[in-house]
């Protein structure tokens, strides 16, 4: 039973991190219908920025709380700037290009960013400082449920709540929903569509950076290549839940995280990713537009 709970929580926290990244994918897809392949790299840059800031601050002897706060803020700011810049350079000129062009551009951006970090930093695995200490929480359970699992879950839940509030109740959220529905019409009613798209990239990138900080501190090491697999997994999760739908992204991520965790725990750790992708294929076979996705209407 203990083992089950352990797997459950590790699956949930894994899913929560996928959700933070998947939201960026699903928001961008919802608004401009683009698979932002460079999103995984934004997450990696968030992790690297937080790593650099946290290490520098700890060398200069700052208290832990300040380190965590500053590293988080720096990661969010820089990742958001990267997201914004990538959108301006690689996607904005391609708004009216054929559908595959922005995809190739995104793949190019992703290769570029990986090698940029590789050249500017290192190809080695770097030890990430332990930002979330193992505190004694609920003593009998503490052995099973790590404090970082809890922090990850709580952070994700708070981020989701804020995001839901922003999208449901603010002016920005309303404009985003309008843009997602029909870009031309949104433009006609006086919404600055370019700004809305930039805002989407900023929010999505900042969330991915928070995810980067959390997972790096959970795993304890980072590398220039971590963005690729995490990006693909998060994208899988977004598609699983129905891309374009925000609750779908969260649901898909949790299902994916739990599947991976239980599959590793009970079957074999070698085939972890195989299970993830097989689950995706299975679900899409029966629900071709994802769990919560809307069926595409075909225009004739």
């Amino acid at each position: 039973m203990d083992y089950f709970i352990e797997l459950l929580f590790s699956g949930l926290s894994r899913g929560a991190i996928y959700a933070l990244i998947a939201l960026g994918y699903t928001m961008v897809y919802g608004i401009i219908g683009l698979i932002n392949f460079a999103h995984g790299e934004i997450y990696m840059i968030g992790a690297f920025t937080s790593f650099i800031v946290a290490t520098v601050l700890s060398i200069y002897g700052f208290p832990l709380l300040a380190i965590v706060a500053l590293a988080g803020v720096a990661a969010a700011i820089w990742a958001a700037s990267y997201g914004l810049t990538i959108e301006k350079i690689a996607y904005k000129p391609l708004r009216h290009a054929p559908r595959l062009s922005p995809l190739i551009s995104a793949i190019g951006m992703s290769i570029f960013l990986q090698n940029y970090v590789l050249l500017a930093q290192t190809s080695d695995f770097l030890p990430f400082p332990e930002l979330i200490p193992e505190f004694a929480f609920m003593e009998p359970v503490a052995h099973i449920v790590g404090s970082s699992d809890l922090v990850i879950l709580v952070t994700t839940a708070v981020a989701m709540l804020i995001l839901t509030y922003v999208i449901k109740f603010t002016r920005l959220g309303k404009a985003m929903r309008a843009t997602a529905q029909d870009r031309t019409m949104a433009m006609l009613v006086g919404i600055n569509v370019n700004n809305i798209i930039s805002a989407t990239f900023i929010i999505g990138s900042a969330l991915a950076a928070i995810g980067g900080l959390l997972i790096a501190s959970h795993i304890g090491q980072i590398n220039f290549y971590i963005g690729f697999l995490a990006g693909i997994k998060a994208f899988t999760a977004a598609v699983l839940g129905g891309i374009g739908s925000i609750p779908g992204a969260v649901l898909g991520s949790l299902i994916l995280g739990l599947t991976e965790s239980f599959a590793t725990g009970y079957v074999s750790s070698d085939y972890e990713d195989v299970f993830a992708f097989s689950l995706l294929v299975l679900i899409l076979l029966f629900k071709p537009s994802g769990l919560l996705g809307k069926a595409e209407t075909q225009k004739v």
């Binding site: 290769i111 960013l113 075909q298």
Partner: protein, 403 residues
């Protein structure tokens, strides 16, 4: 030419990039020794570099605006399809083909075996690109897991050779056939999916194949791969290494010519037109009485067939394969060849493959930066020339403008 305002804007952009790249470029930490290294010169370089790039882009824009006022738009369109113009003229086309054939035949005798090897690789990618072009360019099905079929071909040769001692020429059709079957197996369940869902499922399929190869040790020897695969034989004559490199080169040339011939014929066939119809409008295509399922499946399996055959050749060429050769990056490169060259255009795909594969090889002097440049070039190509190097010409009727 450069107004003060533009210069100011350029300075601001450089400042933004200095800020953007600050943590990654300037700070380098050693967490074990606890040393922080501040590399301020990098910040300066980023700033100056950005400013120069900005000036170049502005200058190019300025030139373009000058040009477009001088020439009418029609002229530039004519220029864009320069190669197609040559191809349309039978005499010039034959000349071009003869020159190309001569170059291809003489090439290995003029240059070292190293160059021949690189050229063989490039030709392999030409065929891979043409295979994927059937799926993506003609039928409009976005396939991100194309490398899986390539892996099926390579592994079928490696395993059949290892366990049963089958030779290259026996496995060549088997490898292609197995890959085509894999194409049907993947294609059948995903027929209902569209666009991006199809993309991600094919990506997942590619990763599943790679992970299975990596983890199923009894079957594929896992990450350590299979070595000592025999090279192709020539009626039982023993060949030196150099000879066999030459031999593979000529096999690949012959095979490429065959592929170009088949794909070219396919394009104008009933099936090819059905693919193009499917790409343009699925519903209208169904309404015309085209069997959507069959058309999609043939696209998938034919594309996979070429990939499987190139896989067999790849295994024979390197004599060693492991799962690391079949990553997503490989699929991305093949897809880039198709899109960069110009979707659906055979000439475009050939040129795209040669540019994308040969460029990183000859950029080896800057070996560290070559993948960086590769990424940047992909982005730049898409931004400045989204239709690809050689856009496909489609037969269209044009009305003459009345003056």
């Amino acid at each position: 030419m450069f107004s003060l305002n533009e210069l100011k804007k350029g300075a601001l952009i450089s400042l933004w990039f200095v800020f953007l790249t600050f943590p990654i470029m300037v700070i380098k930490v050693d967490p074990i020794e606890r040393i922080v290294q501040w590399r301020w010169t990098n910040a300066l370089m980023v700033g100056i570099g950005t400013f120069i790039v900005y000036c170049i882009i502005q200058f190019a824009k300025y030139r373009k605006s000058l040009k477009s006022t001088e020439e009418s738009e029609e002229d530039s369109k004519e220029q864009a399809s320069f190669i197609h113009k040559i191809l349309a003229n039978t005499k010039q086309r034959n000349m071009l083909f003869m020159v190309l054939a001569a170059i291809i035949l003489i090439f290995p005798h003029l240059f070292s075996t190293y160059q021949t090897n690189i050229m063989t690789t490039a030709l392999m990618y030409v065929v891979l690109g043409l295979g994927l072009n059937i799926v993506v360019g003609m039928a409009g099905l976005l396939d991100l897991g194309f490398v899986a079929f390539y892996a099926v071909g390579a592994y079928s040769y490696a395993l059949l050779n290892h366990h049963f001692g089958l030779g290259f020429w026996e496995v060549l059709p088997i490898g292609g056939g197995l890959a085509a079957i894999a194409g049907i197996l993947l294609g059948y369940p995903v027929l209902r999916l569209r666009g991006d869902y199809l993309a991600i499922v094919t990506l997942g399929f590619g990763e599943i194949i790679r992970l299975v190869l990596e983890n199923w040790n009894e079957f594929s020897k896992g990450p350590s791969g299979i070595s000592n695969i025999s090279r192709p034989e020539f009626f039982g004559i023993e060949m030196s290494l150099e000879m066999s490199i030459l031999y593979i080169y000529y096999i690949m040339v012959g095979f490429m010519i065959f592929t170009i011939f088949v794909v070219n014929r396919l394009q104008d066939s009933r099936l090819g037109r059905a693919w193009i119809a499917l790409r343009e409008d699925e519903i209208a295509c169904q309404a015309m009485g085209i069997d959507k399922q069959k058309t999609k499946l043939t696209a998938f399996s034919l594309g996979a067939f070429w990939a499987g055959i190139v896989g067999v050749i790849f295994a024979a060429k390197t004599t060693f394969i492991n799962p690391a050769s079949f990553t997503f990056l490989e699929s991305a490169i093949i897809l880039s060849i198709v899109v960069l060259g110009g979707m659906g255009s055979i000439v475009g795909v050939i040129i795209g493959a040669l540019v994308l594969i040969l460029m990183p090889e000859y950029l080896r002097a800057l070996s560290e930066y070559r993948m960086l440049a590769f990424g940047a070039i992909l982005v730049m190509m898409m931004v400045f020339r989204p239709q690809g190097l050689i856009a496909n010409v489609r037969r269209t009727y044009r009305f003459e403008k009345n003056s």
